[in-house]
């Protein structure tokens, strides 16, 4: 007998995407702080992390069922 409340892996995938987007929002605040304090290295580091988060979130879309 199957459990009617059981969901497939795509339910977990969307949680991962939401977590990555939340981290993305955090990276924006870091970038703004780097901008306000003229910290170039921090700004580029935040940008790199941000691009990596976006790439990860986009990759997770492949595993998401409709």
């Amino acid at each position: 007998m199957s459990n009617p409340t059981r969901r497939g892996p795509s339910s977990a995938v969307i949680v991962y995407v939401i977590v990555l987007v939340a981290l993305q929002v955090f990276s924006v605040t870091v970038s703004v702080e780097a901008f306000l304090t003229d910290d170039e290295r921090l700004g580029w580091a935040a940008a790199g992390v941000s691009v990596a988060l976006f790439t990860g979130a986009a990759a997770f879309l492949r595993y998401l069922e409709p």
Binding site: V17, D38, F54, A57
Partner: protein
């Protein structure tokens, strides 16, 4: 013999029957796609901010006359803006011919620093950060980096000039 499993509708549906015509219009995949598009927009914004931060480096700009050397006494300071109108900067006259200039923004959280002649330091009042008056190096407090230095020189006409580094 087959056994049919009946799942009772949740209580809230019975209490609040919710029928929306567009209820099924946004799938999980579409919702996730919107999230990823938002993440992409934020990534682009982050890269743009980083590039902007690099381009507006404090010591990068056109050469600019600041003030006549004679108008600043030895040990005195002069406030000006460089490289843009909204970038506060400050110069300090060390002796007859030597001046140093820095961005007035503390490298901790951007508060404005001022000169304390008794201790010969730049002081940030927000979180008690202190910088060396001549080099701008951090002496104490939370600032992670030295003050942004602005290259200046005294020219033959007696004016102090911000030299600027070409972009």
């Amino acid at each position: 013999m087959t056994e049919e499993v009946r799942v009772a509708p949740p209580g809230w549906k019975r209490d609040f029957p919710y029928e929306a015509a567009a209820e099924e219009e946004v799938t999980r995949r579409e919702f996730a796609r919107y999230l990823v598009l938002g993440a992409g927009a934020m990534a682009v914004a982050n890269v743009g901010l980083a590039a902007w931060t690099q381009l507006r480096s404090i010591n990068r700009g056109e050469p600019l006359p600041i003030v006549a050397l004679d108008d600043v006494e030895v040990g005195g300071t002069y406030l000006f803006t460089y490289p843009a109108e909204d970038d506060p900067a400050i110069l300090l006259r060390l002796d007859d011919r030597t001046v140093v200039a820095f961005s007035q923004k503390c490298t901790h959280l951007g508060c404005v620093v001022y000169y304390v002649s008794e201790s010969e330091q730049w002081h940030c009042p927000c979180h008690e950060g202190n910088f060396d008056a001549v080099t701008g190096d951090v002496l104490s407090g939370p600032p992670p980096r030295p003050l942004g230095r602005i290259d200046v020189e005294v020219r033959d006409d007696g004016q102090i000039w911000a030299l600027g580094v070409p972009a």
